[in-house]
């Protein structure tokens, strides 16, 4: 209730500022021409309505836990209002309403399909899981410019740092909703559509405009936001013991395939059985009882500052972020306790499975950030004409889960006795380099040889300092190497007066995983408001427990229809 009051308070303040700052209005003119003038000149209404239909094209419905191959039927309407109240105050508000059509029969089907140990029914996602219908604004920001140099943005907003496209590196200020969108598919949902806005304050102070010397500060208190929206929203796999984590549409392959005695042995990666020396059969099994630990309201501040500057053609920024790292892939399971699945004596004798309580947590961290861009013209008279951009993030003492490979009992991995809580902290450096250019390929554009192709190549690397064998992601028994690499390539152009717009995004992990996200859009020549897109999201790899391989049975195609108003 208190949170709601705070939100209402802020909204009221914003609206009051906007309306009181409009000098042309007077009380006497509330129903007169001034209001009409105000709405005509100062207020604009826009937004979009969108329908997306997704169809599984590879392994069918079971991997989506749907009753058929229809894995997405999502209708979104997003109205947006801009109010340009004065020269120094603007207000923007939008709402997002989503309805996904799902059926009770489908829910029952999912109930049957979910396996669990000990055997018990697991509730599927409710039919309205993906729906968003609350009147809460999606974005609601008041932009103030008290001086020429100072810009203040208050409200529920997006803050994006970094230089990358399609894959996040420094773009970790707002969390992302990863429940409804296929991973690494920017042609279906771009980053802005999957980010979750956060309540807070952002200021930009221009110290020297001509060199773009700008000091930026933001503070996101977190306690205005729902707990689940303070960090990435995910739907987990069905390999858990608390019956709360459910198998979602874009969940990774569950680790239930780490099998001991025909049972899920996922928990063994984090904890030994109570009597590891004397167990047998099921007694060697550790049943995971997992739950997500979301950042507490009073403990979820996120604060950051950045200074950017231009030196000649070089533009760069240095920054610092303090707060929760929202990225789902950076989460770790923390062991908070063990108990016996049966009578305590049964575990002591090694006859009954151990239950390990695991909390999936986001790390409170410091991120040291850097970014740069530099346009390269000619090198030794060779026209390169490419913009180079770079991004860097240093995570000191970043936690990782660690296990012993190979594990006991014939398992791929079990608990590492050196790290009984299953967690190790390592300094980690991540960076990205991007190369953007436009290229003319006249023979592919006979009707407009000067319509360019936009090309973008990116390399992402993550380096774990003082690396130890056995570091792995929270969800799988696949090791993370000291250096991991991802490459992306994107190409796009427009045909027939930009009524036909092909765009392809490809991701590649040199360890043998890939994703392809081709799209072709059609904007009818007579109407710029309508757009049809056919989008594919395809994944592959040498196994199903790592990188893009997580999703290799979830290949889908989508028809997206958007009407902009």
């Amino acid at each position: 209730m208190a949170k709601r009051h705070l939100i209402l308070f802020w909204l009221s303040v914003c609206l009051a500022l906007v309306f009181t700052s409009t000098t042309q209005l007077s009380a006497a003119s509330l129903l007169g021409d001034d209001w009409e003038t105000f709405f005509r000149d100062k207020v604009s209404f826009r937004g979009f309505a969108e329908n997306i239909t997704g169809l599984s094209v590879s392994d069918g419905d079971r991997h989506f836990n749907t009753s058929n191959r229809l894995d997405m039927q999502r209708f979104t309407i997003q109205p947006e209002i801009n109010i340009e109240a004065t020269d120094w105050a603007k207000f923007f508000i939008s709402w997002r309403f989503v309805k996904e059509i799902r059926y009770s029969a489908e829910a029952k089907s999912r109930e049957r399909s979910v396996s669990y140990f000990p055997t018990a029914p697991v509730k599927p996602l409710r039919n309205t899981y993906y729906d968003e219908y609350k009147p809460k604004p999606w974005e609601a920001v008041l932009d103030l410019s008290p001086t020429d140099a100072l810009k203040i943005r208050l409200g529920r907003q997006f803050i994006s740092w970094g230089e990358t496209d399609g894959v996040r590196l420094l773009d970790v200020i707002n969390p992302q909703d990863l429940t409804f969108s296929p991973p690494a598919a920017p042609n279906l949902f771009n980053l802005d559509e999957t980010r979750i806005p956060s309540w807070g304050l952002r200021t930009l102070y221009t110290i020297q405009p001509v060199t773009n010397t700008i000091l930026e500060f933001f503070a996101l208190p977190g306690f205005f936001d729902e707990a689940k929206q303070r960090v990435d929203e995910i739907v987990g796999s069905n390999d858990t013991g608390d019956r709360k984590v459910r198998y979602g549409r874009w969940s990774a392959h569950p680790e239930t395939r780490l099998i001991l005695a025909g049972r899920n042995a996922f928990g063994n990666m984090f904890a030994d059985p109570i009597n590891p020396g004397g167990c047998a059969g099921l007694g060697c099994l550790v049943i995971p009882s997992t739950s997500r630990e979301l950042p507490d309201a009073g403990d979820s501040w996120k604060i950051g500052a950045r200074l950017s500057h231009s030196l000649g053609k070089l533009n760069f920024g240095l920054g610092y972020i303090w707060g929760f790292n929202p990225q789902s892939t950076d989460m770790v399971f923390k062991l908070t306790g063990r108990s016996c699945a049966g009578a305590p004596i049964a575990c002591t004798l090694g006859l009954a499975p151990t239950v390990a309580k695991l909390k999936l947590t986001n790390d409170r961290t410091n991120i040291f950030a850097g970014q740069m861009n530099y346009p390269v013209g000619d090198i030794f008279d060779v026209p390169v004409n490419t913009t180079v951009r770079g991004e860097l993030a240093f995570f000191p003492n970043k936690p990782y889960n660690i296990s012993k490979f190979p594990g006991a009992y014939g398992l791929r991995a079990t608990a590492d006795p050196k790290y009984p809580d299953g967690v190790v902290e390592k300094n980690t450096l991540r960076y990205a380099l991007g190369f953007d250019r436009t290229t003319l390929i006249p023979f592919l554009h006979p009707d407009d040889p000067w319509r360019a192709f936009s090309l973008s190549f990116q390399i992402f690397q993550s380096i774990i300092f003082d690396h130890e064998d056995g570091i792995h992601p929270f969800s799988t028994a696949e090791k993370i190497k000291r250096v991991t690499t991802t490459l992306t390539f994107r190409i796009g152009t427009g045909y027939a007066g930009d009524t036909i717009l092909p765009d392809v995004f490809i991701g590649y992990d040199p360890e043998g995983y890939w994703t392809a996200n081709p799209a072709i859009s059609y904007v009818p020549p007579g109407n710029e408001k309508i757009k049809f897109s056919l989008v594919g999201a395809f994944y592959g790899g040498r196994n199903k427990f790592k990188s893009f391989g997580f999703f290799d049975e979830k290949d889908s195609v989508f028809l997206k229809m958007r009407y902009q108003f």
């Binding site: 826009r46 020429d148 930009l204 405009p209 773009n212 530099y374 913009t387 953007d436 003319l440 427009g494």
Partner: protein, 417 residues
């Protein structure tokens, strides 16, 4: 002779100037606006398919073909604008010291028209015309779209089959080193090295809305422009190389250097004066946007006037540049362009652009001219784009508005003021 006197004398002698010189230069053989047999057009005259020869050489070839095919135009009396007093004063004060450097760069320029006294036989006349064009009066700053209903630039893109699409934007220009009206004058301290800064904000349709381009043109001939683009879908600022100046600004037929007819860096090109010429233009547009049939770019219910121009040929120093040849027809008084003609590398006629003008008022009530509708036609692919806008001059935009901080606060509505 100051500019005001010069303008009056020119307008009085409109009908007296003969075309002999223009006919003698090479343009008659290659330019689409070839020489008319005579210029005897008077207000009230009508030109159509029956007498299209009367407009020959005074409009673009493609436009002339449309007249031959049935389009008719009417002639009206010329609209006369007077240059702004401050601009004339700056010209008189500073032009005496201005000269050209060895590479065509401008030396000792402060503000005003760099070369008010033109000797048409001067070997450097082409370069001087180019600089007069570049430093024509455009206010201390302006918002394009500022005086149109809704405050936007409306781009209507017409396909060959007549299908139309609309794309709106707003453009803000600041000239920090040539200020005539607003303080500080003549330059904002710290910005003496910047010729102009431009912000272009797409505002419609929604998917493109908020896409913003910040362009900075430096006076250093060796320093290339800075170009930053804010992309709303990723909420990031992207750096662009300036080779992108040549690519089509989809979905229109313009590229970055087509803005204001010619927006290239003056020192990157060679210039040749091809002669004086009378053309048909419209300096007082009747209606914004002009009336037209859906799916066609031809202006209806607009009258045309006879205007004296200089014909300037532009060829790039970079052999890979998209336009190997471009002709500007510069108004002798304002140095704005009326007709812009472009050829491709094969020498084939490629694009034809004509701009209309309309009177607007400054805050103190003085009347000045502004661009109105600008039409570009790609005669090779049949597409055309009409840009409807007018400029609101001297809005007092701060230099800090033209920085990356502004780009980061753009919202879907595209507003930055």
């Amino acid at each position: 002779m100051n500019l005001a006197v010069k303008v009056e004398s020119m307008t009085k002698s409109l009908s007296a100037i003969c075309l002999a010189f223009a006919c003698s230069v090479a343009i008659s053989s290659v330019a689409s606006i070839s020489c008319a047999a005579e210029v005897d057009l008077k207000p009230g005259d009508t030109i159509g398919p029956q007498n299209w020869q009367r407009a020959q050489g005074m409009v673009g070839e493609n436009f002339l073909n449309r007249i031959k095919q049935g389009h008719t135009i009417q002639i009206k009396a010329p609209k006369i604008y007077r240059p702004l007093k401050e601009y004339i004063e700056a010209t008189e004060k500073y032009s005496g010291r201005v000269s050209l450097g060895p590479n065509g760069e401008l030396l000792n320029y402060v503000s005003g028209q760099p070369f008010p006294k033109l000797d048409l036989s001067d070997g450097q006349i082409g370069q001087k015309l180019a600089w007069n064009f570049f430093w024509r009066w455009l206010g201390d700053d302006y918002k394009t779209g500022g005086a149109v209903k809704g405050g936007k630039i409306i781009r209507s893109v017409i396909e060959k089959d007549g299908a139309e699409r609309r794309a709106d934007l707003v453009s803000y220009f600041l000239f920090p080193r040539t200020r005539y009206t607003s303080n500080p004058k003549p330059a904002i301290p710290g910005y003496e090295h910047i010729d102009y800064m431009q912000l272009r904000v797409d505002s419609y349709p929604r998917d493109a809305a908020g896409t913003t381009t910040l362009e900075i043109r430096y006076d250093d001939p060796k320093k290339s422009d800075d170009l930053y683009i804010y992309i709303p879908s990723i909420r990031r600022i992207r750096r662009a190389t300036t080779t992108q100046r040549c690519q089509t600004l989809a979905p229109s037929e313009f590229n970055l250097d087509d803005i204001n007819s010619f927006n290239g860096k003056i020192t990157d090109f060679n210039y040749k004066f091809l002669g004086e010429k009378k053309v048909l233009a419209n300096l007082s547009q009747e209606k914004l946007p002009f009336d037209r049939k859906p799916g066609d770019y031809l202006p209806l219910n607009e009258k045309w006037e006879v205007v004296d121009t200089y014909v300037l040929e532009i060829t790039p120093k970079d052999p890979n540049y998209c336009y190997p040849r471009k002709l500007l027809h510069l108004n002798k008084m304002s140095f704005d362009t009326h007709w812009t003609l472009i050829w491709d590398k094969k020498g084939d006629y490629w694009k034809e652009q004509f701009g209309m003008f309309t009177p607007v008022k400054l805050a103190d009530g003085r009347e000045v001219w502004s661009v109105g509708d600008v039409t570009i036609v790609n005669v090779q692919n049949g597409r055309s784009t009409i840009v409807t806008s007018t400029r609101a001059y001297n809005q007092g935009y701060p230099a800090s508005m033209f920085s990356l901080a502004t780009l980061q606060t753009i919202m879907r509505g595209g507003s930055i003021e």
